[in-house]
């Protein structure tokens, strides 16, 4: 049999490590559960190594077109492994503090990672659907991992209910597409669509419902409503993970579907996503302006950033998709970086995540404040940070395709976003800290190291972005 398994090695590593963690879990003393987290981190590293081993394959499909091995898959797998590893690292101390340090947590992270990888790699709607479900169910649980905490529980409930609801739409969409093309394989759908000439209206409707499903996953307006609540309620490291991982995975799958399965409907989905992009950016930014909880503010900011990414998708060009890939990397670095600091500064019970708690941070924790400022500056898209290059790339893709109006709205949104990002800086640096405010805990060395790497990374992406830009451009789908 010519079944090729090697591209699945990273997946296997992740899943097996997850199982290993579950096996070891009962035999690990409560105070040593972080070891399990370390296993998870090692697993991501091993998976990454496995990924590296088989990196130089030409694009091809395995498992009857189910699993596509190409630069795109490779790119996203890297991203997801990094995200997962950092999230695990970030979680360990947090989980100890919140007394939720259990092996399941890390196992679920690893499973979620494999789900994300499947989403990026999948060449069939069914596998995509299953990938989404693995990721979703894992994150439902992670969001509710602090099960004694009403907020965490509520986050989990909301995410689950709405997630399942949206999944139903997605599934209906798959059904309709299957019904009108007779297949769920991307490449087959594409061939048929081009053969058919005029596409059946049911395909169109099916695609619309797919957009609803994916739109929910990446929190596009008006399918975004869950995001702020869930991001706020979930344990902070999970929030950090959710704002980057599932979002990137959602975009990875969405782009694949749109580009590889439904390019024939390009005019239709661009015109819908054009509007959705505007709504998403604007709503995210406008509402973020009034937030007082930093996690929630970053949640709305995450919504807004999904809108920016959509700009690149709307462009529907190689440049645009390259920009999307690049931006997802940049966004991951800056958002995870910001969350690393937010998580590190929070106190037990996810307290001290309000804007007021950051008053005078510039003096009390200069490094954390400076790093957070840098990430915020990057999120705002100011030059010399990766955020600028990312937005530059996205907007230029839009302009190249003549979407001037969209680009203008996007930049106006950027201006708006400056307001709330910089407000946090105002609070950290420009307000005097009130008397008797407890000093923030020192950041743990590994997280510190991650933040430092993030700082360097975001500057590197801003000052010398060519390498990653080229990587992103070469990893786009044809």
């Amino acid at each position: 049999m010519g079944i090729e398994y090697s591209p699945l090695i990273p997946q296997l590593v992740l899943v097996l490590a997850g199982m290993l963690i579950m096996l070891l879990e009962p035999f690990t003393a409560p105070e040593r559960k972080s070891r399990l987290g370390q296993i998870a981190i090692v697993a991501t590293a091993v998976a990454a190594y496995g990924l590296k081993l088989q990196s130089n394959h030409r694009p091809h499909a395995i498992f009857h077109g189910m699993f596509l091995v190409d630069a795109y898959t490779y790119f996203f797998q890297w991203l997801f492994l990094v995200i997962t590893g950092i999230s695990a690292l970030l979680s360990m101390r947090f989980n100890e503090r919140e007394s939720i340090n259990r092996g399941e947590y890390y196992a679920l992270l690893l499973f979620a990672c494999s789900g994300m990888s499947l989403m990026a790699a999948s060449g069939d709607l069914i596998l995509t659907f299953i990938g989404i479900e693995i990721l979703s169910i894992a994150t439902y649980i992670l969001a509710g991992f602090k099960r004694d905490d009403v907020r965490s529980n509520e986050a989990s409930l909301k995410y689950f209910l709405l997630g399942s609801f949206a999944t139903a739409f997605l599934l209906y969409g798959i059904a309709l597409i299957y019904g009108s093309t007779g297949t769920t394989n991307y490449l087959a759908i594409r061939q048929l669509a081009s053969l058919q000439g005029s596409v059946q209206v049911t395909t169109l409707i099916g695609m619309g419902l797919l957009l609803v499903g994916f739109g929910f996953k990446v929190a596009l307006v008006p399918f975004h409503a869950w995001a702020p609540d869930v991001y706020e309620g979930a344990p902070s490291p999970v929030t950090a993970f959710m704002t980057v991982g599932p979002k990137a995975a959602g975009f990875a799958a969405l782009v694949r579907v749109l580009v590889q399965a439904l390019p024939g409907l390009g005019r239709d989905w661009t015109s819908i996503l054009w509007i959705v992009a505007i709504l998403t950016m604007t709503l995210g930014n406008v509402v973020a302006v009034r937030q007082t909880n930093v996690k929630r503010m970053l949640a709305y900011s995450a919504i807004a950033h999904a809108g920016y990414v959509l700009v690149g998708i709307v462009a529907n060009s190689r440049t645009g998709f390259g920009a999307v890939l690049f931006y997802l990397v940049v966004y991951t670095v800056m958002n995870l970086g910001a969350f690393c600091i937010v998580v590190s500064l929070s106190h037990k019970g996810d307290a001290r995540v309000y804007l007021d708690n950051y008053t005078g941070l510039g003096r009390k924790a200069p490094f954390a404040a400076a790093a957070l400022s840098l990430f915020l500056i990057s999120l705002a898209g100011i030059p010399l940070t990766g955020g600028f290059i990312g937005k530059f790339y996205l907007f230029s893709a839009a302009i190249q395709k003549g979407y001037i109006g969209l680009a203008i709205i996007a930049v106006l949104n950027s201006v708006l976003s400056v307001f709330y990002y910089f407000r946090l800086m105002v609070i950290m640096y420009m307000r005097e800290p009130p008397e008797g405010q407890p000093d923030p805990d020192p950041i743990s060395p590994p997280v510190m190291a991650i933040v430092a790497i993030g700082v360097v990374g975001i500057l590197w992406l801003g000052i010398n972005p060519a390498m990653i830009l080229n990587l992103a451009a070469n990893s786009t789908l044809p």
Binding site: I126, I137, R147, V150, E154, L157, L161, L171, I174, A175
Partner: protein
Amino acid sequence: MDIVHYLILSALLFIIGAVGVIFKRNVISIFLCIELMLNAVNLSFVAFSSFLSQVHGQVFVFFVMVVAAAEAAVGLAITIVLQRNRGTLSVDDADIMKW
């Protein structure tokens, strides 16, 4: 029988389920409505499968069932935690986080 009938029935069930999700207040009722929606989709899958003379559609139904079972398990677990923490099953009470 025409496939269109099945499709329309499926759409009707789907929409009833969707409306129910918004309509119902009890968490479990909402689950039930979501299950209803999934089943509506299944009906479509089977109908397409049958009329296209393909087995694929029926394979999907398997997967959907597994997913539905998994979701049900997790969802019910979440519901139990909700009940434990808050003593309620009404989603309207789960609104600590807003704005």
